[in-house]
Protein backbone atom coordinates (compact mmCIF):
# COMPACT_ATOMS: atom_id res chain seq x y z
CA UNK A 1 0.00 0.00 0.00
CA UNK A 2 3.01 2.28 0.65
CA UNK A 3 3.94 1.97 -2.99
CA UNK A 4 0.45 2.82 -4.25
CA UNK A 5 0.35 5.88 -1.97
CA UNK A 6 3.82 6.96 -3.08
CA UNK A 7 2.93 6.61 -6.78
CA UNK A 8 -0.24 8.65 -6.18
CA UNK A 9 1.76 11.35 -4.39
CA UNK A 10 4.36 11.42 -7.15
CA UNK A 11 1.72 11.76 -9.87
CA UNK A 12 0.06 14.59 -8.03
CA UNK A 13 3.35 16.47 -7.74
CA UNK A 14 4.40 15.67 -11.29
CA UNK A 15 1.15 16.36 -13.17
CA UNK A 16 0.93 19.94 -12.00
CA UNK A 17 4.13 20.53 -13.97
CA UNK A 18 3.37 18.15 -16.83
CA UNK A 19 1.55 20.32 -19.33
CA UNK A 20 0.83 17.46 -21.76
CA UNK A 21 -1.10 15.53 -19.13
CA UNK A 22 -2.60 18.58 -17.45
CA UNK A 23 -4.11 19.83 -20.72
CA UNK A 24 -5.75 16.46 -21.35
CA UNK A 25 -7.37 16.58 -17.93
CA UNK A 26 -8.81 20.06 -18.14
CA UNK A 27 -9.35 20.77 -21.84
CA UNK A 28 -12.82 19.20 -22.30
CA UNK A 29 -14.26 20.21 -18.91
CA UNK A 30 -13.25 23.82 -19.60
CA UNK A 31 -14.59 23.65 -23.17
CA UNK A 32 -17.88 22.25 -21.90
CA UNK A 33 -18.28 25.07 -19.37
CA UNK A 34 -17.57 27.65 -22.07
CA UNK A 35 -19.72 26.13 -24.80
CA UNK A 36 -22.68 25.29 -22.57
CA UNK A 37 -22.75 28.87 -21.33
CA UNK A 38 -21.78 30.70 -24.49
CA UNK A 39 -23.75 28.93 -27.22
CA UNK A 40 -27.46 28.46 -27.30
CA UNK A 41 -29.17 27.51 -30.55
CA UNK A 42 -32.89 27.10 -30.81
CA UNK A 43 -33.83 23.45 -31.21
CA UNK A 44 -30.46 22.24 -30.01
CA UNK A 45 -30.59 18.99 -28.04
CA UNK A 46 -30.44 19.41 -24.26
CA UNK A 47 -26.95 18.85 -22.75
CA UNK A 48 -25.61 18.77 -26.34
CA UNK A 49 -22.07 19.97 -25.65
CA UNK A 50 -21.78 18.11 -22.35
CA UNK A 51 -22.75 14.83 -24.01
CA UNK A 52 -20.49 15.42 -26.99
CA UNK A 53 -17.44 16.46 -25.00
CA UNK A 54 -17.98 13.82 -22.32
CA UNK A 55 -17.49 11.03 -24.84
CA UNK A 56 -14.49 12.80 -26.36
CA UNK A 57 -13.06 13.21 -22.87
CA UNK A 58 -13.44 9.50 -22.17
CA UNK A 59 -11.80 8.62 -25.48
CA UNK A 60 -8.85 10.95 -24.96
CA UNK A 61 -7.91 11.83 -21.40
CA UNK A 62 -7.36 8.50 -19.61
CA UNK A 63 -5.91 6.89 -22.72
CA UNK A 64 -3.31 9.54 -23.51
CA UNK A 65 -2.42 10.26 -19.88
CA UNK A 66 -1.62 6.70 -18.85
CA UNK A 67 0.18 5.96 -22.13
CA UNK A 68 2.24 9.14 -21.72
CA UNK A 69 3.08 8.43 -18.07
CA UNK A 70 4.18 4.80 -18.59
CA UNK A 71 6.15 5.48 -21.77
CA UNK A 72 7.92 8.43 -20.16
CA UNK A 73 8.92 6.29 -17.18
CA UNK A 74 10.37 3.74 -19.61
CA UNK A 75 12.17 6.33 -21.68
CA UNK A 76 13.68 8.16 -18.70
CA UNK A 77 14.62 4.92 -16.88
CA UNK A 78 12.68 5.85 -13.77
CA UNK A 79 10.84 2.54 -14.09
CA UNK A 80 14.12 0.71 -13.51
CA UNK A 81 14.69 2.69 -10.36
CA UNK A 82 11.21 1.76 -9.16
CA UNK A 83 12.22 -1.85 -9.72
CA UNK A 84 15.09 -1.36 -7.29
CA UNK A 85 12.55 -0.16 -4.75
CA UNK A 86 10.60 -3.38 -5.25
CA UNK A 87 7.57 -1.66 -6.73
CA UNK A 88 5.42 -4.38 -8.29
CA UNK A 89 3.55 -3.98 -11.57
CA UNK A 90 0.18 -4.18 -9.84
CA UNK A 91 1.03 -1.42 -7.33
CA UNK A 92 2.49 0.78 -10.06
CA UNK A 93 -0.50 0.42 -12.37
CA UNK A 94 -2.99 0.70 -9.52
CA UNK A 95 -1.38 3.92 -8.23
CA UNK A 96 -1.49 5.47 -11.68
CA UNK A 97 -4.99 4.16 -12.39
CA UNK A 98 -6.45 5.52 -9.14
CA UNK A 99 -4.89 8.88 -9.84
CA UNK A 100 -5.99 9.17 -13.48
CA UNK A 101 -9.50 7.83 -12.91
CA UNK A 102 -9.98 10.15 -9.92
CA UNK A 103 -8.93 13.20 -11.90
CA UNK A 104 -10.99 12.12 -14.92
CA UNK A 105 -14.03 11.59 -12.69
CA UNK A 106 -13.58 15.11 -11.36
CA UNK A 107 -13.43 16.32 -14.96
CA UNK A 108 -16.53 14.25 -15.76
CA UNK A 109 -18.33 15.83 -12.81
CA UNK A 110 -17.49 19.29 -14.10
CA UNK A 111 -18.79 18.32 -17.56
CA UNK A 112 -21.98 16.91 -16.02
CA UNK A 113 -22.60 19.97 -13.87
CA UNK A 114 -21.83 22.32 -16.76
CA UNK A 115 -24.28 20.37 -18.88
CA UNK A 116 -27.02 20.92 -16.30
CA UNK A 117 -27.31 17.36 -15.01
CA UNK A 118 -28.63 17.09 -11.47
CA UNK A 119 -29.43 14.46 -8.86
CA UNK A 120 -29.94 10.91 -10.15
CA UNK A 121 -29.31 11.97 -13.75
CA UNK A 122 -25.92 13.38 -12.75
CA UNK A 123 -25.09 10.15 -10.93
CA UNK A 124 -26.10 8.08 -13.97
CA UNK A 125 -24.04 10.34 -16.23
CA UNK A 126 -21.01 9.98 -13.96
CA UNK A 127 -21.38 6.20 -13.72
CA UNK A 128 -21.51 5.85 -17.51
CA UNK A 129 -18.35 7.93 -17.82
CA UNK A 130 -16.70 5.88 -15.06
CA UNK A 131 -17.14 2.71 -17.14
CA UNK A 132 -15.74 4.52 -20.17
CA UNK A 133 -12.78 5.93 -18.25
CA UNK A 134 -11.81 2.46 -17.02
CA UNK A 135 -11.95 0.90 -20.50
CA UNK A 136 -10.01 3.80 -22.00
CA UNK A 137 -7.44 3.60 -19.20
CA UNK A 138 -6.72 -0.09 -19.81
CA UNK A 139 -6.29 0.56 -23.54
CA UNK A 140 -3.92 3.47 -22.78
CA UNK A 141 -1.94 1.28 -20.37
CA UNK A 142 -1.58 -1.35 -23.10
CA UNK A 143 -0.17 1.30 -25.46
CA UNK A 144 2.16 2.68 -22.77
CA UNK A 145 3.47 -0.78 -21.89
CA UNK A 146 4.01 -1.67 -25.56
CA UNK A 147 5.84 1.59 -26.35
CA UNK A 148 9.59 1.94 -25.96
CA UNK A 149 9.42 5.71 -25.63
CA UNK A 150 7.07 8.67 -25.62
CA UNK A 151 7.31 9.25 -29.34
CA UNK A 152 6.18 5.72 -30.06
CA UNK A 153 3.38 6.06 -27.50
CA UNK A 154 2.17 9.28 -29.12
CA UNK A 155 2.18 7.78 -32.60
CA UNK A 156 0.16 4.81 -31.36
CA UNK A 157 -2.17 6.84 -29.16
CA UNK A 158 -3.07 9.48 -31.71
CA UNK A 159 -5.01 7.33 -34.24
CA UNK A 160 -6.70 5.28 -31.50
CA UNK A 161 -7.72 8.43 -29.67
CA UNK A 162 -9.02 10.07 -32.86
CA UNK A 163 -11.15 7.04 -33.73
CA UNK A 164 -12.57 6.63 -30.23
CA UNK A 165 -13.24 10.32 -29.66
CA UNK A 166 -14.53 11.46 -33.01
CA UNK A 167 -16.54 8.47 -34.22
CA UNK A 168 -19.55 9.30 -32.00
CA UNK A 169 -19.61 12.87 -33.33
CA UNK A 170 -19.09 11.85 -36.98
CA UNK A 171 -21.77 9.19 -36.69
CA UNK A 172 -24.30 11.99 -36.23
CA UNK A 173 -23.72 13.00 -39.86
CA UNK A 174 -23.20 9.74 -41.70
CA UNK A 175 -25.12 6.46 -41.60
CA UNK A 176 -22.21 4.29 -42.71
CA UNK A 177 -19.99 5.70 -39.99
CA UNK A 178 -22.80 5.14 -37.49
CA UNK A 179 -23.01 1.46 -38.48
CA UNK A 180 -19.28 1.05 -37.90
CA UNK A 181 -19.15 3.26 -34.81
CA UNK A 182 -21.68 1.19 -32.91
CA UNK A 183 -19.02 -1.49 -32.34
CA UNK A 184 -16.87 0.95 -30.37
CA UNK A 185 -17.41 1.49 -26.66
CA UNK A 186 -17.40 5.27 -26.99
CA UNK A 187 -20.38 5.17 -29.35
CA UNK A 188 -22.27 2.91 -26.95
CA UNK A 189 -21.46 5.34 -24.12
CA UNK A 190 -22.69 8.14 -26.36
CA UNK A 191 -25.98 6.29 -26.87
CA UNK A 192 -26.32 5.72 -23.11
CA UNK A 193 -25.48 9.33 -22.23
CA UNK A 194 -28.04 10.61 -24.69
CA UNK A 195 -30.74 8.62 -22.91
CA UNK A 196 -29.90 9.79 -19.38
CA UNK A 197 -33.15 10.79 -17.70
CA UNK A 198 -34.97 8.05 -19.52
CA UNK A 199 -32.27 5.43 -19.64
CA UNK A 200 -32.85 2.03 -21.18
CA UNK A 201 -29.88 -0.28 -21.43
CA UNK A 202 -30.30 -2.50 -24.46
CA UNK A 203 -28.88 -6.01 -24.72
CA UNK A 204 -26.62 -5.15 -27.68
CA UNK A 205 -25.15 -2.21 -25.72
CA UNK A 206 -24.16 -4.53 -22.89
CA UNK A 207 -22.76 -7.11 -25.33
CA UNK A 208 -20.70 -4.51 -27.21
CA UNK A 209 -19.39 -2.92 -24.00
CA UNK A 210 -18.43 -6.31 -22.56
CA UNK A 211 -16.81 -7.36 -25.85
CA UNK A 212 -14.82 -4.13 -25.88
CA UNK A 213 -13.72 -4.72 -22.28
CA UNK A 214 -12.63 -8.30 -23.00
CA UNK A 215 -10.85 -7.34 -26.22
CA UNK A 216 -8.99 -4.44 -24.58
CA UNK A 217 -8.15 -6.64 -21.59
CA UNK A 218 -6.63 -9.21 -23.96
CA UNK A 219 -4.71 -6.46 -25.81
CA UNK A 220 -3.29 -5.31 -22.48
CA UNK A 221 -2.25 -8.82 -21.43
CA UNK A 222 -0.58 -9.49 -24.79
CA UNK A 223 1.17 -6.13 -24.67
CA UNK A 224 2.28 -6.77 -21.07
CA UNK A 225 3.62 -10.24 -21.81
CA UNK A 226 5.50 -9.19 -24.93
CA UNK A 227 6.81 -6.01 -23.45
CA UNK A 228 10.43 -5.16 -22.95
CA UNK A 229 9.42 -3.96 -19.51
CA UNK A 230 8.49 -7.40 -18.32
CA UNK A 231 11.88 -8.81 -19.29
CA UNK A 232 13.89 -6.12 -17.65
CA UNK A 233 11.81 -5.17 -14.71
CA UNK A 234 9.67 -7.04 -12.25
CA UNK A 235 7.83 -3.75 -12.06
CA UNK A 236 6.12 -4.21 -15.41
Amino acid sequence: MNHVKAILWKQLKDTLKNKVVLIQFIMFPVMTVIMENAISIQGMQEHFFANLFAVMYVGMAPLTCIASIISEEKEKNTLRVLQMCNVKAFAYLLGNAIYIVSVCMLGSLVIGLAGGYKGFDLLTFILILFVGNIISLVLGAAIGVASKNQMMATSLTMPVMMVLSFLPMLSMFNDTIRKIAKYFFTQQLNILINTVGNITVRKDTIIILLSNMVLIGVIFMVSYRKSFMRNTSPCL
Binding site: N2, K13, R80
Partner: protein, 284 residues
Protein backbone atom coordinates in the same frame (compact mmCIF):
# COMPACT_ATOMS: atom_id res chain seq x y z
CA UNK B 1 31.01 -14.35 4.70
CA UNK B 2 33.33 -11.42 3.95
CA UNK B 3 32.58 -11.22 0.29
CA UNK B 4 30.18 -8.51 -0.77
CA UNK B 5 30.29 -9.54 -4.42
CA UNK B 6 31.38 -12.84 -5.96
CA UNK B 7 31.52 -13.40 -9.69
CA UNK B 8 32.37 -16.80 -11.17
CA UNK B 9 32.87 -17.51 -14.86
CA UNK B 10 30.35 -14.87 -15.85
CA UNK B 11 29.54 -14.52 -19.50
CA UNK B 12 26.89 -12.62 -21.41
CA UNK B 13 25.91 -12.26 -25.03
CA UNK B 14 23.50 -10.02 -26.88
CA UNK B 15 22.46 -12.31 -29.72
CA UNK B 16 25.65 -13.56 -31.31
CA UNK B 17 27.76 -10.78 -29.84
CA UNK B 18 29.63 -11.80 -26.71
CA UNK B 19 30.03 -8.80 -24.41
CA UNK B 20 31.36 -10.53 -21.27
CA UNK B 21 33.41 -13.70 -21.14
CA UNK B 22 34.91 -15.74 -18.28
CA UNK B 23 34.71 -12.95 -15.70
CA UNK B 24 35.69 -14.06 -12.17
CA UNK B 25 36.61 -11.92 -9.18
CA UNK B 26 35.49 -11.10 -5.67
CA UNK B 27 34.93 -7.87 -3.78
CA UNK B 28 35.47 -7.80 -0.02
CA UNK B 29 33.04 -6.03 2.28
CA UNK B 30 34.01 -2.40 2.86
CA UNK B 31 36.24 -2.32 -0.20
CA UNK B 32 36.15 0.22 -3.01
CA UNK B 33 36.41 -1.79 -6.19
CA UNK B 34 36.94 -0.21 -9.58
CA UNK B 35 36.10 -1.73 -12.92
CA UNK B 36 38.20 0.07 -15.51
CA UNK B 37 37.75 -0.16 -19.20
CA UNK B 38 37.19 1.95 -22.29
CA UNK B 39 33.71 2.70 -23.58
CA UNK B 40 32.03 -0.45 -24.86
CA UNK B 41 34.18 -2.79 -22.74
CA UNK B 42 31.10 -4.21 -20.97
CA UNK B 43 31.20 -2.24 -17.69
CA UNK B 44 27.54 -1.18 -17.66
CA UNK B 45 26.41 -4.65 -18.76
CA UNK B 46 28.27 -6.12 -15.77
CA UNK B 47 26.63 -3.62 -13.39
CA UNK B 48 23.22 -4.39 -14.89
CA UNK B 49 23.81 -8.12 -14.28
CA UNK B 50 25.07 -7.57 -10.72
CA UNK B 51 22.04 -5.46 -9.87
CA UNK B 52 19.61 -7.99 -11.31
CA UNK B 53 18.50 -5.79 -14.19
CA UNK B 54 19.87 -8.22 -16.72
CA UNK B 55 20.08 -12.00 -16.57
CA UNK B 56 23.52 -13.30 -17.54
CA UNK B 57 23.71 -15.99 -20.19
CA UNK B 58 26.32 -17.92 -18.17
CA UNK B 59 28.15 -18.07 -14.85
CA UNK B 60 27.18 -17.00 -11.38
CA UNK B 61 27.01 -13.68 -9.52
CA UNK B 62 26.40 -13.40 -5.79
CA UNK B 63 25.52 -10.15 -4.02
CA UNK B 64 25.88 -10.51 -0.24
CA UNK B 65 25.46 -14.24 -0.75
CA UNK B 66 22.33 -14.03 -2.92
CA UNK B 67 22.31 -14.75 -6.64
CA UNK B 68 21.73 -11.40 -8.30
CA UNK B 69 18.88 -12.70 -10.47
CA UNK B 70 17.09 -13.91 -7.32
CA UNK B 71 17.24 -10.60 -5.45
CA UNK B 72 13.97 -9.46 -3.94
CA UNK B 73 12.85 -6.20 -2.36
CA UNK B 74 14.66 -6.93 0.90
CA UNK B 75 17.93 -7.50 -0.97
CA UNK B 76 17.45 -4.34 -2.97
CA UNK B 77 17.15 -2.38 0.26
CA UNK B 78 20.81 -3.26 0.88
CA UNK B 79 22.11 -1.84 -2.36
CA UNK B 80 22.24 1.66 -3.83
CA UNK B 81 22.64 2.29 -7.52
CA UNK B 82 23.74 5.35 -9.43
CA UNK B 83 23.46 4.67 -13.12
CA UNK B 84 24.81 6.62 -16.06
CA UNK B 85 21.17 7.27 -17.01
CA UNK B 86 19.95 8.86 -13.82
CA UNK B 87 16.33 7.76 -13.47
CA UNK B 88 15.28 10.93 -11.71
CA UNK B 89 11.91 12.64 -12.19
CA UNK B 90 12.83 15.74 -14.17
CA UNK B 91 9.85 17.92 -13.38
CA UNK B 92 10.01 17.23 -9.66
CA UNK B 93 12.32 19.11 -7.32
CA UNK B 94 15.45 17.62 -5.74
CA UNK B 95 13.61 17.40 -2.41
CA UNK B 96 10.53 15.73 -3.92
CA UNK B 97 12.66 13.17 -5.77
CA UNK B 98 14.28 12.06 -2.51
CA UNK B 99 10.96 12.26 -0.65
CA UNK B 100 9.35 9.97 -3.22
CA UNK B 101 12.02 7.30 -2.73
CA UNK B 102 11.69 7.63 1.03
CA UNK B 103 7.94 7.11 0.68
CA UNK B 104 8.46 3.97 -1.39
CA UNK B 105 10.42 2.55 1.55
CA UNK B 106 7.68 3.59 3.93
CA UNK B 107 9.88 6.25 5.54
CA UNK B 108 9.06 9.84 6.44
CA UNK B 109 10.85 13.05 5.63
CA UNK B 110 13.68 12.40 8.10
CA UNK B 111 17.15 12.78 6.71
CA UNK B 112 16.24 14.34 3.37
CA UNK B 113 17.36 17.87 4.28
CA UNK B 114 20.54 16.48 5.80
CA UNK B 115 21.21 14.39 2.71
CA UNK B 116 20.75 17.39 0.41
CA UNK B 117 23.10 19.38 2.63
CA UNK B 118 25.61 16.55 2.48
CA UNK B 119 25.74 16.62 -1.31
CA UNK B 120 25.71 20.42 -1.47
CA UNK B 121 22.19 20.78 -2.87
CA UNK B 122 20.49 22.54 0.04
CA UNK B 123 19.96 25.73 -1.89
CA UNK B 124 18.65 23.86 -4.92
CA UNK B 125 16.21 21.71 -2.99
CA UNK B 126 13.16 23.26 -4.65
CA UNK B 127 14.75 23.32 -8.12
CA UNK B 128 13.28 20.90 -10.65
CA UNK B 129 15.82 18.30 -11.78
CA UNK B 130 15.49 19.49 -15.39
CA UNK B 131 17.01 22.84 -14.34
CA UNK B 132 20.05 21.33 -12.61
CA UNK B 133 23.53 21.20 -14.14
CA UNK B 134 25.01 17.77 -14.93
CA UNK B 135 27.19 17.94 -11.84
CA UNK B 136 24.23 18.76 -9.60
CA UNK B 137 22.17 15.98 -11.19
CA UNK B 138 25.02 13.54 -10.52
CA UNK B 139 25.15 14.64 -6.89
CA UNK B 140 21.39 14.20 -6.55
CA UNK B 141 21.60 10.74 -8.12
CA UNK B 142 24.38 9.94 -5.65
CA UNK B 143 22.22 11.20 -2.77
CA UNK B 144 19.36 8.98 -3.91
CA UNK B 145 21.70 5.99 -4.14
CA UNK B 146 22.91 6.41 -0.55
CA UNK B 147 19.52 7.42 0.87
CA UNK B 148 18.81 3.91 2.13
CA UNK B 149 22.28 3.61 3.76
CA UNK B 150 23.12 0.70 1.47
CA UNK B 151 25.66 -2.01 2.22
CA UNK B 152 26.80 -2.01 -1.40
CA UNK B 153 26.87 1.01 -3.66
CA UNK B 154 27.04 0.56 -7.43
CA UNK B 155 28.29 3.65 -9.24
CA UNK B 156 28.31 3.59 -13.02
CA UNK B 157 30.73 6.25 -14.28
CA UNK B 158 29.88 8.64 -11.44
CA UNK B 159 32.12 11.46 -12.63
CA UNK B 160 31.91 11.07 -16.40
CA UNK B 161 31.85 14.43 -18.16
CA UNK B 162 32.05 16.54 -14.99
CA UNK B 163 34.25 19.51 -14.14
CA UNK B 164 37.19 18.95 -11.76
CA UNK B 165 35.48 20.67 -8.80
CA UNK B 166 32.41 18.45 -9.03
CA UNK B 167 34.60 15.38 -9.58
CA UNK B 168 36.46 16.27 -6.38
CA UNK B 169 33.16 16.68 -4.50
CA UNK B 170 31.90 13.29 -5.67
CA UNK B 171 35.23 11.63 -4.78
CA UNK B 172 34.89 13.10 -1.30
CA UNK B 173 31.37 11.69 -0.97
CA UNK B 174 32.54 8.25 -2.16
CA UNK B 175 35.34 8.22 0.41
CA UNK B 176 32.89 9.27 3.13
CA UNK B 177 30.71 6.30 2.23
CA UNK B 178 33.77 4.07 2.39
CA UNK B 179 34.48 5.39 5.88
CA UNK B 180 31.00 4.22 6.89
CA UNK B 181 31.93 0.69 5.77
CA UNK B 182 29.93 0.68 2.54
CA UNK B 183 31.25 -1.59 -0.19
CA UNK B 184 31.58 0.44 -3.36
CA UNK B 185 31.66 -0.97 -6.86
CA UNK B 186 32.39 1.69 -9.43
CA UNK B 187 33.00 1.65 -13.13
CA UNK B 188 35.19 4.26 -14.72
CA UNK B 189 37.52 4.89 -17.60
CA UNK B 190 39.45 7.43 -15.54
CA UNK B 191 42.69 5.90 -14.26
CA UNK B 192 43.36 8.75 -11.83
CA UNK B 193 39.98 8.17 -10.23
CA UNK B 194 40.71 4.46 -9.88
CA UNK B 195 44.16 5.06 -8.43
CA UNK B 196 42.79 7.59 -5.96
CA UNK B 197 39.68 5.76 -4.77
CA UNK B 198 40.03 2.03 -5.30
CA UNK B 199 41.48 -0.65 -3.06
CA UNK B 200 41.33 -3.09 -5.94
CA UNK B 201 40.62 -2.78 -9.62
CA UNK B 202 39.96 -4.99 -12.61
CA UNK B 203 40.92 -3.91 -16.10
CA UNK B 204 38.20 -4.91 -18.54
CA UNK B 205 38.78 -5.09 -22.26
CA UNK B 206 36.36 -6.44 -24.83
CA UNK B 207 34.46 -8.32 -22.16
CA UNK B 208 37.47 -9.97 -20.51
CA UNK B 209 39.40 -9.16 -17.34
CA UNK B 210 42.98 -8.53 -18.42
CA UNK B 211 44.40 -7.57 -15.02
CA UNK B 212 43.24 -7.56 -11.42
CA UNK B 213 44.64 -6.30 -8.10
CA UNK B 214 45.49 -3.21 -6.07
CA UNK B 215 46.44 -0.29 -8.37
CA UNK B 216 49.87 0.09 -6.78
CA UNK B 217 50.57 -3.64 -7.03
CA UNK B 218 49.58 -3.70 -10.69
CA UNK B 219 51.85 -0.76 -11.39
CA UNK B 220 54.74 -2.49 -9.61
CA UNK B 221 54.06 -5.68 -11.53
CA UNK B 222 54.54 -3.87 -14.82
CA UNK B 223 57.59 -1.88 -13.78
CA UNK B 224 59.90 -3.62 -16.28
CA UNK B 225 61.96 -0.82 -17.67
CA UNK B 226 63.32 0.65 -14.41
CA UNK B 227 64.53 3.97 -15.69
CA UNK B 228 65.28 7.31 -14.06
CA UNK B 229 64.45 10.52 -15.85
CA UNK B 230 66.53 13.64 -15.15
CA UNK B 231 65.57 17.14 -16.17
CA UNK B 232 68.52 19.52 -16.26
CA UNK B 233 68.49 23.27 -15.78
CA UNK B 234 69.61 23.62 -19.39
CA UNK B 235 66.27 22.11 -20.40
CA UNK B 236 67.77 18.79 -21.46
CA UNK B 237 66.03 15.51 -20.48
CA UNK B 238 68.20 12.50 -19.73
CA UNK B 239 66.97 8.92 -19.17
CA UNK B 240 69.23 6.63 -17.14
CA UNK B 241 68.99 2.94 -16.33
CA UNK B 242 69.10 1.44 -12.83
CA UNK B 243 72.85 0.79 -12.41
CA UNK B 244 75.99 2.03 -10.68
CA UNK B 245 77.01 4.26 -13.59
CA UNK B 246 73.71 6.11 -13.40
CA UNK B 247 74.37 6.75 -9.71
CA UNK B 248 77.69 8.37 -10.55
CA UNK B 249 76.11 10.53 -13.25
CA UNK B 250 73.38 11.73 -10.92
CA UNK B 251 76.03 12.59 -8.34
CA UNK B 252 77.97 14.57 -10.95
CA UNK B 253 74.93 16.55 -12.02
CA UNK B 254 74.12 17.27 -8.40
CA UNK B 255 77.66 18.47 -7.68
CA UNK B 256 77.60 20.70 -10.77
CA UNK B 257 74.24 22.08 -9.64
CA UNK B 258 72.70 21.32 -13.02
CA UNK B 259 69.93 18.99 -11.86
CA UNK B 260 66.42 20.48 -11.90
CA UNK B 261 64.21 17.40 -11.26
CA UNK B 262 64.60 13.65 -10.93
CA UNK B 263 61.84 11.12 -11.59
CA UNK B 264 61.43 7.38 -11.56
CA UNK B 265 59.36 6.11 -14.49
CA UNK B 266 56.81 3.69 -13.04
CA UNK B 267 53.98 2.85 -15.38
CA UNK B 268 50.46 4.04 -14.63
CA UNK B 269 47.21 2.19 -15.26
CA UNK B 270 46.83 3.89 -18.62
CA UNK B 271 50.20 2.69 -19.90
CA UNK B 272 49.63 -0.78 -18.47
CA UNK B 273 46.26 -0.98 -20.21
CA UNK B 274 47.96 0.11 -23.43
CA UNK B 275 50.64 -2.53 -22.96
CA UNK B 276 48.04 -5.24 -22.38
CA UNK B 277 45.48 -4.34 -25.01
CA UNK B 278 46.98 -1.83 -27.39
CA UNK B 279 44.04 0.48 -26.56
CA UNK B 280 43.70 3.59 -24.45
CA UNK B 281 41.43 3.71 -21.40
CA UNK B 282 40.32 7.25 -21.96
CA UNK B 283 39.27 8.88 -25.18
CA UNK B 284 41.99 11.05 -26.70
Amino acid sequence: MNKAISIKELSHSFGKKTVLSGISFEVEKGEVFGLLGPSGAGKTTLINILTGQLRATGGCTLILGTASQDMTGEHYKQIGIMMDHFGLYERMSCYDNLRFYQMLDGNGKDGIEEMLRGVGLSEAKKTPVMNLSKGMTNRLAFARAILRSPKILFLDEPTSGLDPTTVEAIHKMILEEKQKGTTIFLTTHNMHEAEKLCDNIALLNEGKIVEYGAPADICRRYYHQKRIQLHLKSGEDIVLSYDADSGKKIKEYLEMGELETIHSTEPNLETIFMELTGRRLEKE
